[in-house]
């Protein structure tokens, strides 16, 4: 598989050469392949947001370099020519509804494509397509985005990023503050974009159930370092270590541990409901065969 993103010894120091200086990223090296769904986890302040802001060059490394879709970004990369690059890396910030500003929903979604040189007609086409993707009804096109519900505004903002047709989509806690239905809709959208549109997805999240249900790859951040990288089942193994990282267990792993203390053994800690239930069904089946 092709590499979409590759970081080599990336360090980022905020306010270098001042008394405020602090390393937000500390010598991070990691690779993300095209088409992967990567979750970035770690407690608040561990460097997750700083990491993803490098991926579309909103921040540049203080030392080290990264290669994103063939574009090399080093400490000396100038802001010229970054625009074309940023189009390929869509970034949905936390509470993205805060960036809405146009008079109508459709205009706001067209804003990105138009900045990248699309004609009105092209932009409208992309915007309408994006609205469909995020499940916004066509009838909302000419409404003011500020008259919509919180969940709808969130989707307008995400559509505004999708309309640029990025190859990589970064989602920084996209479901924060949403109710469960809104949460599931956004997560299912991310899954659809990943599986049907082959978009490379990077998700920052605090919700371990989302990590195990959606991600194929996990990066654990702690104090600016990528301390563990791998598929979900390699991450949630060492309970003491997880506690040290201030990370929760997924609900199923938590429940499986309770089952274990009640005397039901698991060869491997299940992470999802299906894994847990498979094991239980297996044990019940065994018993049935025994009888």
């Amino acid at each position: 598989m092709d590499k979409a993103i590759s970081l080599k010894n990336v360090t980022h120091t905020y306010q270098a050469n001042t008394p405020f200086a602090q390393n937000a990223l500390d010598n991070v090296t990691l690779n993300i392949e095209k088409g992967e769904f990567t979750a970035i986890i770690g407690h608040t302040g561990s460097g997750k947001s700083t990491l993803v802001q490098h991926i579309n060059a909103l921040l540049k490394p203080t030392t080290g370099s990264l290669n994103v879709l063939g574009k090399v970004i080093t400490p000396t990369t100038t802001n010229k020519n970054l625009k074309a690059f940023r189009k390929q890396v869509g970034m949905v910030f936390q509470f993205p509804e805060k960036q809405l500003f146009e008079e109508t929903v459709i205009k706001d979604i067209m804003f990105g494509p138009k900045n990248y040189g699309a004609t009105d007609e092209q932009a409208r086409h992309s915007a309408e397509h994006a609205m469909k993707l995020v499940g916004l009804d066509h009838s909302l096109s000419n409404k003011s985005p500020f008259d919509l519900s919180g969940g709808q505004m969130r989707r307008v903002a995400i559509a505004g990023v999708l309309a640029m047709d990025p190859e990589i989509l970064i989602l920084d806690e996209p479901t924060a503050g949403l109710d469960p239905r809104g949460h599931n809709e956004i997560m299912d959208l991310a899954k659809y974009l990943n599986q049907q549109q082959h978009m490379t997805i990077i998700l920052i999240t605090h919700q371990m159930d989302d990590v195990v249900n959606y991600a194929t790859n996990v990066v654990v951040m702690d104090q600016g370092q990528a301390v563990k990288i791998g598929p979900p089942d390699t991450i949630f193994t060492d309970l003491d270590w997880l506690r040290k990282m201030q990370l929760d267990l997924p609900s199923s792993a938590e429940f499986a541990r309770k089952l274990e203390s009640a005397g039901i053994a698991f060869d491997q800690l299940p992470l999802t409901v299906n894994q847990l239930v498979d094991r239980v069904a297996q044990l019940v089946g065994k018993k049935a065969a025994h009888e």
């Binding site: 407690h43 608040t44 519900s149 919180g150 969940g151 924060a176 503050g177 949403l178 109710d179 469960p180 239905r181 809104g182 605090h206 919700q207 201030q246 929760d248 609900s251 429940f255 309770k258 089952l259 009640a262 005397g263 039901i264 409901v273 299906n274 847990l276 239930v277 498979d278 239980v280 069904a281 044990l283 019940v284 018993k287 025994h290 009888e291």
Partner: protein, 277 residues
């Protein structure tokens, strides 16, 4: 148990909107933890604002601790109710932690000497005394919510309303805040109304009320409410974890006559399934 809040046949609509509440009634018992659940837009937060007199009823009546909510009683009502709002940033009025806790006391014209004592005690009770000189920009969301709670405790209220107070926090911050409120509830004999769509938060309540499009569609113990996971899903809420396990097991042909069990019951049942010889 006595009712500390009585909501009696109220109607309310936001200006230029259709009726949100039409003849809604609800009682809150003294000393209980009541979870008010429902999806965004169901009217949960509006109800909290009506109870605190922040919005004015169209018709009907609300009494808090025996006092009708009206202009005359508004100060007394607000002495009895503290609300922790959703956004930690938007309720931090003071320049520093201690000034913020003092804000409510200043409003009530508490003499300065007493204020200092109360602020210290309140901040200690939420574990924020060592941060008293911090400015809000240097606090986490969870810490700001702690300060908000200290500001409420300082006024010795009878009721705390958590208006999605944990929804913008990370899981650890969320658990910390809930544990803190549980402890404070015990120590200060409080009544707690928690407005939430977090099913785990609701699971810890004494009683759960489901609000949907301005109407109460059910009220019961958490176990009673969770016994119908399908309905929770229908109104946009999540099924509690054990319900998901039961559903997944039934898809594999392992069925139970119950749709919901709590953790302990579910563990006992699975154990029985697996080990019965």
């Amino acid at each position: 148990m006595q009712n500390i809040i009585e909501v009696n046949k109220i109607s309310y609509n936001y200006p230029e909107r259709s009726l949100l509440f039409d003849n809604l009634s609800l009682n809150v018992r003294e000393g209980e933890w009541l979870a008010l659940i429902g999806q965004n837009g169901s009217g949960k937060s509006t109800l909290a604002r009506l109870i605190d007199g922040l919005l004015v009823l169209k018709s009907g009546a609300i009494t808090v601790d025996g006092l009708p909510v009206n202009d005359e009683n508004i100060n007394e009502i607000r002495n009895r109710i503290g609300i922790v709002f959703q956004n930690p940033e938007d309720q931090f009025v003071g320049a520093t932690v201690e000034d913020d806790v003092a804000f409510g006391l200043e409003n009530r014209q508490v003499p300065r000497e007493q204020m200092h004592e109360i602020v210290e005690k309140s901040l200690k009770s939420v574990g924020m005394w060592q941060f008293r000189e911090r400015i809000p920009a240097n606090l986490s969301g969870g810490q700001k919510q702690r300060v908000a709670i200290a500001g409420i405790i300082a006024l010795h209220p009878k009721i705390i309303i958590l208006d999605e107070a944990t929804s913008m926090l990370d899981p650890q911050g969320r658990n910390d805040i809930l544990q803190l409120v549980r402890d404070l509830k015990e120590d200060n004999h409080l009544t707690v109304i928690s407005i939430t769509h977090d099913i785990d938060e609701a699971a810890g309540a004494d009683r759960v009320v489901i609000l949907n499009q301005g109407q109460i569609i059910d009220e019961n113990t958490p176990d009673g409410i969770f016994a119908q996971p399908q309905r929770l899903k229908q109104i946009g809420l999540d099924a509690p974890y054990p319900a998901k396990v039961i559903e997944a097991l039934s898809r594999r042909g392992i069925t139970s006559d119950k749709q919901y069990m709590n953790d302990e019951e579910l563990i006992a049942w699975i154990k029985q399934l697996v080990s019965r010889m």
